[in-house]
Point group: C2
Chain length 323, copies 2
């Protein structure tokens, strides 16, 4: 019998999951070619403007396949609704039966993206991090910082955002936590003081250029998920000692790597996949002087792993509760 | 708040819907270019063998968009499970919010396909039908006959199936109903005695050829939904006075028309869409001597219309029940 898991239940179950470990597994399976991830389905709406993406896939020999529907309707904020909407579905890979409907309202995408940022930092970040830099003070900027706690002992952060209102909310969120957050006046100030940076904005213009980046810095970018969006000037990727992506095939049409390759600043051949770095089949950071960039556009195996994790946790919780 | 509607509730609500009218609306909207129907998403599984299709779309200016996940895992019968699995999701076209999860286990696809068969018969069938012929005695063969009741006064039917066990179940289903069902020994016998024929088999070889078809016959084919499947010899489509499809674009890659055009027997230019016939923008049957064929491969607007109909009926039922 299929299970319907609502947002509140997902929120309760998530803390029990090793989301960083799940994302490592996802990226390794993906990069080893053990996953089947067809092209993303897309639907565009004009009035009001909106976009829907359907991601689906499975790991060969696994238990389940996943279908995720995620939308962005940007006028929703006028109605007091979150612009991101969606749900995740798990089905049996053996019978096609629906296993679970996860009414996550976009939460699992947010969390798996943040957990992927932690994976990138774990495998590519410099050994010593004095300060974590975050560009963008929205949900993803917050979740990235919360998940980086799991992979670095650093508890100092600097946040920059175009919207001062967002920044206030951000500071409130970490008020009383063990992370000390300061506000940076500019994106450049973040780069000047932080050696581990995450960019989470929907910017259409580069926020950082090569001159801002100090040796030893690692930057993870998660904001640019279309061909128009860009957070890093291509000169940064051109100068980086290592450029890593979650998906080589997706980087051909979206994200920072797409932009840098299109502009001629970066050679596609030099780019490697995160799962290959984790699995030891590609070289990541070699020393603490190198600059590394990891561009994440999100793959369906991440959705599969986190949704499977939630469903397994839900079953365990039910078993423990007894009949 | 999104609503989860389970199979039993859908079964209770369906009889209150004018599914034939809903399908007419769907086909007209589709053929008038008022719908957005991206290419079908597909995922193939090898062990055990299975296939998943994701159909999605919307009608411009409507309330909702639909995503349907439908799978066929053909070893399921060994496990005592239906090979068809799936569900239908409705979302708001204005905010992206999930409106309803319809856990229909494939029922809505079966019903909308049968209702489409009734639409085809209504608009293309001969005026006088002495006997309804059905090839294939599975669920779809049964539903087609049940839905044809709504568009023809004929209450005599002849069924043929490769599996005698299926035929027994079929006869039992109509035992005591107002439809008198006889068994045909061959598919040819069905064509010899029936002027309204529906083919619902997963055949990979033609079941009928041109010599079998009497003047005035209308044939609706719903079985062939891949490029391998075929129920009618291309000579039938070549000889037909009118060949109609639900979707011209889908007929380029699947179904009877695809096969007949590929073999050179049929010219693509002569084929028209069912929605254009209903809307009066294309000519259908002109007299009772003509042979007509309607090849249905299924479009997402049908899923949208039937799912919207069920959700609306569910809301009405709740309102009538009161607070």
């Amino acid at each position: 019998m299929s299970e319907v898991i609502r947002l509140e239940a997902i929120q309760e179950l998530l803390p029990s999951l090793d989301v960083v470990g799940l994302m490592e597994e996802a990226f390794v399976a993906y990069s080893e070619g053990r996953s089947v991830v067809p092209p993303v389905g897309e639907m565009i709406f004009e009035d009001p403007p909106g976009e829907v993406h359907i991601k689906y896939g499975y790991i060969r020999g696994g238990d389940s396949y996943v279908v995720k529907i995620a939308s962005g309707f940007y006028d929703n904020t006028k109605l007091g609704l979150p612009s991101s909407q969606g749900l995740v579905l798990l089905f049996s890979q053996r019978t096609g039966e629906l296993e679970a409907v996860l009414l996550d309202e976009g939460l699992l995408t947010d969390v798996r993206t943040a957990a992927a940022g932690a994976v990138a930092a774990k495998h590519l970040g410099p050994e010593r991090v004095d300060c974590i830099g975050v560009l963008g003070a929205g949900t993803q900027g917050r979740l990235q910082l919360e998940h980086l706690r799991r992979v670095t002992p650093c508890r100092k952060a600097k946040v920059w955002s175009r919207g001062t209102k967002w920044v206030e909310g951000y500071l409130e969120r970490f008020d009383g936590s063990d992370i000390e957050v300061e506000v940076a006046a500019t994106a450049a100030e973040v780069a000047e003081t932080c050696s581990l940076i995450v960019t989470t904005t929907p910017s259409h213009k580069p926020l950082l250029t090569e001159g801002h980046i100090r040796p030893g810095t690692h930057i993870t970018t998660v904001g640019s998920d279309t061909e128009e969006k860009i957070e890093l000037d291509p000169t940064i990727l051109a100068r980086a000692d290592r450029v890593v992506v979650d998906s080589l095939s997706q980087s051909e049409s979206r994200g920072e790597v797409f932009r840098a390759v299109s502009s001629g600043a970066l050679s596609r051949e030099s780019v490697v996949e995160l799962g290959a770095v984790i699995g030891g089949r590609a070289v990541g950071r070699e020393n603490d002087e190198q600059v590394t960039v990891c561009d994440l556009t999100g793959v369906a195996v991440q959705d599969l792993m986190i949704a499977s994790g939630v469903v397994a946790a839900s079953r365990r919780a039910r078993e423990e509760a007894g009949p």
